[in-house]
Amino acid sequence: MRQRDEAFEVFFLAEHGSVLRTVQLILGDRQAAEDATQEAFYRLLVHWRKVSQYERPGAWVRRVAIRIATRARSSQRVAEIEPPRSGVESSARVDLQRALRALSPAQRTAVVLFYYEDQPVGEVASLMECSDGAVKTHLHRARKHLAEVLGEELDDVPR
């Protein structure tokens, strides 16, 4: 195996899982998330010689995966709801899934990156390839909708 493939595979082992989990939350569909993540890592493989020189190749593959995922979610079916676990927790889980599914692709992406990955607004904007203001708008609208659907009080505007 050539040296750059070895380096690529080390990177793959380190990053693939977390990219897949994020994309799955954005898409709400396991198979579609696997496809999008696979495609993103394939593109990374093709451009590895160049991208591996970047300061953060992880951000590059995340950005590509998110781009593929948001486009896929704009054009594809709404995913099936996974079977509930049990009790109050499962009910809350299904409520959250339903609420997230009603968001636009951009709103859902912003919510996942901000709340799940705990990324600051600036980094979310970089990953979504839009402005900080656009991210704040997506988050504001998403939170407003989620607060209504989940019956929660709306807190302050996120940082």
Partner: protein
């Protein structure tokens, strides 16, 4: 609990358990590395054609922005039990047949399983491929930049056939009276915002442009019938792995263009069948340092003769032991060849 806290903790409950990363990597190797190797083969061929075109000089371009038009392969519902195609299932297929008009065909074959596709595809004709498309420089052709919906089951190809089964769509390009003699077809998903060349589906050169019939009338690109098979070796990136047919007349060694390592002991050697020749047999000379491959073609009978060069033909070679660190040499030229690996 605040909304923010509920979202932070709630999203954690939706994530799935981590999977075996090594298993994921093994699956990725199986799909992505062969796909990249095919890309190299396709790029190599395209690069040669670009170089040849540049050697003959660059023609001026016309500029045009056209509206899309629709078309359907079929309107049948998706059959039960057929999975959706994923990018790693699909091979691009391309063909351009010339006559009074050019028939541009684009489609897919599936390397893994019959699968379902429903995709709207746009073709743009430019003089300099993706760069011109991105800059909005399209040939002045009525219907250029038009879309057709590709919908149906993508079959798995029969690699031993002279034609590869696939699912495709086509456009007819006629009456080109422009000065440019070099053209590229760029295929991309309709509505997709192309930012990098990798966003497009495929780009292929036209060997020539359609005949100029009437200068007073525009050049036209219109949707044409769907396509169910592609000539096996025309400008697609799916190699045709041929079974040798020993006993042809005047067998001779031909130059190998590249080698693809399928598994530890199996190679594909790529070559071009000249007009009226076909793969006769393959021999291998193995030493501890090197493997030398001799690909022989023989003359076909007139009744089964193909009149044009057939590129992207592959001969399968099974070694007596794993290739390991040994080099691979072309028996015709003695040159050591680059080996693209699937692993």
């Amino acid at each position: 609990m605040s909304l923010d806290d509920r979202l932070r903790s709630g999203l954690r409950t939706l994530e799935t358990a981590p999977e075996d990363a090594q298993q994921r990597l093994a699956e990725f190797r199986r799909r992505a590395y062969p796909r990249r190797a095919r890309r190299w083969v396709a790029q190599g061929v395209a690069g040669m054609i670009v170089a040849a075109a540049l050697a003959f000089g660059i023609s001026s371009l016309a500029f045009h922005q056209a509206q899309g038009s629709g078309g359907f392969v079929n309107k049948q519902p998706k059959p039960k039990g057929v999975p959706n195609c994923t990018p790693s299932d699909l091979h691009f297929m391309f063909d351009y047949s010339t006559g009074p008009a050019g028939l541009v065909s684009f489609g897919y074959a599936s390397s893994t399983r019959p699968c379902w596709i429903d995709q709207s595809i746009t073709v743009a004709i430019t003089g300099n491929g993706f760069a011109d498309l991105k800059a909005g420089r399209l040939f002045a052709v009525s219907g250029n930049n038009s879309a057709i919906r590709l919908r149906g089951v993508v079959p798995t190809p029969n690699a031993d056939a002279r034609a590869i089964q696939g699912l495709g769509i086509s456009w007819e390009w006629s009456n080109w009276c422009g000065s440019a003699t070099r053209a590229y077809f760029v295929f991309f998903e309709t509505g997709k915002h192309l930012q990098i060349a990798d966003d497009m589906l495929e780009m292929d050169p036209a060997p020539n442009t359609p005949r100029c019939v009437d200068r007073s009338k525009p050049s036209v690109l219109t949707s044409a019938p769907s396509v169910a098979s592609f000539p096996s070796t025309r400008r697609n990136d799916l190699p045709l792995v041929l079974q040798p047919a020993p006993g042809l007349a005047n067998p001779r060694v031909v130059k190998i263009l590249g080698v693809y390592l399928i598994d530890a002991r199996t190679l594909w050697a790529f070559f071009t069948e000249a007009p009226c020749t076909a793969l006769d047999h393959v021999t291998v000379s193995e030493s501890p340092q090197q493997v030398t491959v001799f690909v022989y073609v023989g003359r076909q009978s007139k009744s089964s003769c193909h009149p044009t060069n057939l590129p992207n033909i592959a001969a399968k070679i099974v070694l007596s032991r794993a290739l390991g660190n040994r080099g691979v040499a072309d028996g015709a030229s003695g040159e050591v060849l680059g080996v693209a690996s699937s692993r």
